[in-house]
């Protein structure tokens, strides 16, 4: 579904991605784990077109994404939930969800998705007219994921959904991710520092280290690998 080939991205003169390649198949959950500064967020921002890569190739369903504006990438169905959630603080919960459906033109489907989300997260329905910035961290993460669901993603990019959340909320967020993948068949690319949780929910994983991909395997094998256990699972 998505094929990334020898991708190189720079911030000014600093090279953040040193030629990474990976592939995602339809319906999979893929995780990318790694330490701070490994290039995980840059990878997602490159795919979304926010930080345009300098060289390499990104192919989504036989179409190249290189040099395409972020809004066109969204219109192809690649939706990102960025790091830190980035809820619009002064838009209401409802308006935040509206922004997720910004490019959609099927009022009927949008209404259905609203119902789906409000039934899945009753707390969001309760706070519908409250400003996004007043929600708690966990609620904001639910809203951020819901906002992405409102776009009916074909490929969902999640950047550290566990960041700054209590363990019990993290557990819940990961359950939702797994459930959404099973129910809708949406392909998910999950970037995480919480390797333990990420490897449990995903099918395959990549380990990133300073702008390169150090390991690639199924999650089962990665969890057994000594290196991953020592460096990322703390065992």
């Amino acid at each position: 579904m998505l094929k990334v080939d020898n991708l190189q991205t720079y911030y000014g003169n600093i090279q953040a991605l040193k030629g990474i390649s990976f592939e995602i198949n339809e319906g999979e959950i893929i995780t990318v784990i790694g330490a701070n500064g490994a290039g995980k967020t840059t990878t997602l921002m490159s795919i979304s077109g926010i930080v345009p890569p300098r060289s390499g190739q990104i192919i989504f369903r036989d179409e190249s994404l290189m040099g395409i504006e972020p809004d066109s990438i969204v219109s192809k169905g690649i939706i990102q939930v960025p790091e830190g959630r980035r809820i619009f603080p002064y838009l209401t919960v409802q308006e935040n969800l509206d922004m997720g459906a910004f490019l959609r033109k099927d009022p009927e489907g949008i209404r259905e998705d609203f119902e789906y989300i409000y039934s899945m997260f009753p707390i969001l329905a309760e706070r519908k007219n409250q400003q996004g910035g007043t929600l708690s961290g966990g609620e904001q993460q639910m809203l951020a994921i819901s906002r992405a669901i409102m776009a009916r993603p074909k490929l969902l990019l999640l950047d550290e959904p566990s960041l700054g959340l209590a363990p019990i909320i993290v557990q819940k967020i990961f359950e939702i991710i797994g459930k959404f993948n099973k129910e809708s068949g949406t392909t998910i690319l999950l970037v995480e520092q919480n390797a333990n949780m990420a490897l449990k929910v995903a099918d395959r994983g990549y380990v990133m280290e300073t702008g390169t991909i150090a390991m690639a395997d199924t999650c089962e094998n990665l969890m057994k690998s000594d290196e991953v256990r020592r460096a990322y699972l703390g065992i």
Binding site: I50, P70, D71, S75, R86, F88, Y90, L91, M99, F102
Partner: protein, 303 residues
């Protein structure tokens, strides 16, 4: 205390404030979206007035009804100024979007000087008389009336523009996109918003209201030259900062407060110190509330 005089000053200040508000809106909306003080905004207002004067000059020969002429002049002025505003953003600001803010600010000052001198050369350095074709309302034309017809027209038009703008920003799709863009540009892009279109739209709306203001005020004051945009622009900018730059209700409130300060200051103390009152008030407000009357202290909802 003479109550009639007080009400005259009150209404005079209200009109003055509405004038500033039409211009201040453009400053505040652009600032809300791209954090730029568009110093060339006053020039758009001036170009609107000049365009209208030319249109009025041509149409007068056709013997049309005065109100029809002013309406056509307003529409043409708005379309023209919109073109200038749109082009200005593309030429002078868009290439600098990733540059430090100061660069864009200097570009704005340059644009302002360029447009002033362009009109100076293309038109004239002298003051030109501007005919007042705004509708005359018989009841307001009597000697004892507290305000005249053009003041009334300016007030009503400004109120109408505010209502339309508020509706646009609160309830329409592009309005929501504007608010989202002002709060978080990256997230707006990730939601599929084309922020270039949103920015262009903001300049278009700001330029259109500035041109409308230019025509109304020139009709009221009766004369224009290439420099009117600078003075009006500075005042409107002060009003926008006073109210809290980036906030639309703030721009309106700041404009009214400024209008009243000037009106009462000149009315009760001395007309020589008109600008002094305005700036004393600005400094006082900024000392006690640096973000302006309705301004938010941190980055937030700016439109």
């Amino acid at each position: 205390m003479d109550l009639t005089y007080f009400f005259e000053l009150l209404l005079g200040g209200l009109t003055r404030g509405s004038i500033y508000a039409l211009l201040a809106l453009g400053y505040t909306m652009v600032y809300g979206i791209i954090q730029l003080i568009n110093f060339a905004h006053g020039e758009i207002y001036m170009i609107g007035a000049f365009t209208a004067l030319i249109v009025i000059g041509v149409l007068t020969f056709t013997g049309m009804n005065g109100i029809a002429i002013i309406l056509i002049a307003i529409v043409v002025a708005m379309v023209f100024s919109t073109g200038y505003g749109f082009t200005m953003e593309k030429l002078a600001y868009k290439p600098l979007r990733r540059a430090p803010r100061l660069s864009a600010l200097i570009s704005a000052i340059g644009m302002s000087m360029f447009l002033q001198n362009y009109v100076l050369l293309a038109q004239t350095p002298d003051f030109l008389p501007f005919p007042n074709l705004l509708p005359k309302i018989a009841r307001l034309e009597q000697a004892e009336s507290l305000m005249n017809s053009s003041q009334f027209t300016i007030l009503v038009t400004t109120a109408g523009v505010m209502i339309i703008l508020t509706f646009l920003i609160k309830f329409t799709k592009i309005g929501k996109a504007m608010r989202a863009t002002s709060q978080d540009k990256t997230m707006a892009m990730l939601s599929g918003i084309n922020i270039n279109k949103v920015i262009s739209f903001t300049f278009v709306v700001g330029s259109a209201t500035a041109a409308l203001g230019g025509v109304l005020i020139s009709s009221h004051t009766g004369q224009i030259n290439y420099y009117i945009g600078f003075i009006a622009g500075i005042k409107a900018f002060v009003a926008a900062v006073l109210g809290g730059i980036g906030s639309i209700p703030g721009a309106v409130l700041g404009s009214l407060v400024l209008g009243w300060t000037e009106s009462f200051g000149t009315g009760y103390i001395s007309s020589d110190y008109e600008d002094v009152f305005a700036f004393i008030f600005l400094i006082a407000i900024l000392i006690f509330k640096p973000s302006g009357i309705l301004g938010k202290t941190s980055a937030g909802d700016k439109v």
